[in-house]
């Protein structure tokens, strides 16, 4: 009886170890699952171009003030918008230029990450083109001008009349893969 018992014990242990292993892999599987989930539901859609809704209309009666902000984190770059603010109607497309300069004598790769205020602006901001969709590589002392093209749709709540769009450049290790979709 003791024999039979220890055999079934070992079998049980094997099953549980396999289950443990599956759960470890599951932890890693949550990463692509999370990304897919965000992509399908449109949450966290920071790095892909948007499509403008067909029924987009320009609301001539309203003005929105937009403030542009630019930061670098840990890169030897200078990064600024060529205009610090703008005034547009909801639904009206706008093109803003940004400029980066690599102040160092090495090639540096960076990735811009957007952030908005108010936070729910991302629901109403439709970006067609942005330097933040890909990584940027700057040769020593190179200067680059890059556009951002977007529309703020007219669904933006009426009480909002000023918004801020901010970009921060982070350094990517040399040879790092481009940002995943």
């Amino acid at each position: 009886m003791v024999e039979a018992n220890s055999k079934s014990n070992i079998l049980m242990m094997k099953k549980l170890l396999i289950f443990t292993l599956i759960m470890f892999v599951f932890g890693y599987a949550l990463v692509p699952f999370y990304e897919k989930f965000c992509e399908v539901t449109g949450i966290n859609n920071l790095l892909q171009p948007d499509v403008l809704a067909k029924d987009n209309r320009v609301d001539e009666d309203r003005w929105i003030a937009i403030e542009f902000d630019a930061n670098v984190r840990g890169l030897p770059w200078q990064f600024k918008p060529l205009q610090t603010s703008a005034r547009i109607h909801p639904g009206e497309p706008i093109n803003v230029m940004y400029e980066i300069t690599n102040n160092s004598d090495r090639e540096v790769t960076g990735q811009a990450i957007p952030s908005y205020s108010p936070r729910f602006l991302d629901k109403h901001l439709k970006k067609f083109e942005c330097f933040c969709f890909t990584k940027q590589v700057l040769k020593p002392n190179e200067t680059l001008q890059m556009p951002v093209q977007f529309v703020i749709d007219s669904e933006l709540p009426a009480e909002i009349n000023t918004v801020t769009i901010s970009y921060t450049f982070f350094e990517l290790p040399a040879g790092a893969s481009p940002v995943k979709k």
Binding site: N9, L16, T20, E35, T41, L172
Partner: protein, 526 residues
Amino acid sequence: MAAVHGDAHGHDDHHPSGIMRWVTTTNHKDIGTMYLWFSFTMFLIGGFLAMGIRAELYQPGIQILQPELFNQFTTLHGLIMVFGAIMPAFVGFANWQVPLMIGAPDMAFARMNNWSFWLLPVAGTLLVSSFFVPGGAAAGGWTFYPPLSTQGGLGVDLMIFAVHILGASSIMGSINIITTILNMRAPGMTLMKMPMFVWTWLITAYLLVLVMPVLAGVVTMLLTDRHFGTSFFNAAGGGDPVMFQHIFWFFGHPEVYIMILPAFGIVSEIIPTFARKPLFGYSSMVYATASIAILSCVVWAHHMFTAGMPTVGQLFFMYATMLIAVPTGVKVFNWTATMWRGSMTFETPMLFAIGFIFLFVIGGFSGVICAIVPIDIQVQDTYYVIAHFHYVLVSGALFSLFAGVYYWLPKWTGNMYNETLGKWHFWLSMFFFNLTFFVQHFLGLAGMPRRIPDYNLQFADFNMVSSIGAFGFGLTQLLFLYIVISCIRSGEKSPEKPWDGATTLEWTHLPCPAPYHSFEKPPIVK
């Protein structure tokens, strides 16, 4: 009974003596004892950190701990109490009690049992020694969110290794417990005849093998982000720090039930014994435990209502969280119904068990309050949350551990503890615990943030009260240490069956103290 005594004589102890006895032991009782002493040691270390925190918060301004060190204290207090004190203590109980309560001679894998214990001191040493490395210990909170945890120094690496080791130990312990319970029950002990403590541990062990590997995965991601160029949580590399919170809490919320389900089990043994009535609604207790375990896996994002989430997500996690109150309520009503018209006596274990129910319900209710999204957004990261989870972890998990120690000390040592001192321990703990944590509700509602070494003057009075309570609570636990040691060394000899209402196998079939080898011939359960 005679057969049992014969059993004890048949196996004269032929184990090594001195320190090697403890290093090489494969006996579930020895290992259980070591688990309990280890966790008590970590409890004192974690308690020391808590005293440091409360001493700094005694008055506004920076007096004792610089902010960096204060953050290390709060972080390590949480990690040590959760992973070093509460969890190993319950595993210690499982080691001692599960084989005794199901009539098994030992745990299923005795050598693995030894190994899973001896990993713990290694991990504990890593955690404690991280205070002394350059840059100090991890300081980003016990939940080690990135980016703080991807930026910290060597201390964070030590913490990551410690968590890995503790996770491995817990997983081995759980595999052992599941196998023991499923394969080694005495003849006639069907699943639905198992004592509640064994049931709660079976379910807890399944939760552990479900979520501990996920924790191991997420700290491994953190490690590769720190040192091997991956960017799971690095926004610049395409990762997402919020994803860490999702994966962490996928582990973290079941984890809180891992710490409370065995407590439910202990209380479910003690209440019937001292009410001298069988547990009311045994099968509903089993199903409630299982439902809590299942629900605990789908509520994790209620820790993240302010991290950014669509309303529909907030609503789902809010309702799912509130649903847990239902099976928990079933349990509380069952305990109350067990006491109803029972012939109750109030020895120390019963006092702690009733104290547990009373205070755990307060913690449970503040949990339901925190589950409500708009309120949570208000109290997120304030002292209200601190008060909430100390009500469920200190007066919940810890009080049940005290109750269990007093209840089973006669079985473990053969001696009775000092009942008068035990009662003092209970009433002092009760008083000082509430003094410490009840006022923290008010601080939280007034807006005092957690993890802050200095605060606005308006919070001064309640913080002073809370600190005085904390010092009292800390000192009271030294009384507990004294009671346990004096029970072991010079306690009065315990009667064969000190609790006349006890009905589980360890009381009905074994003498006090339980012999070194028990149930070599399994008892027959009718």
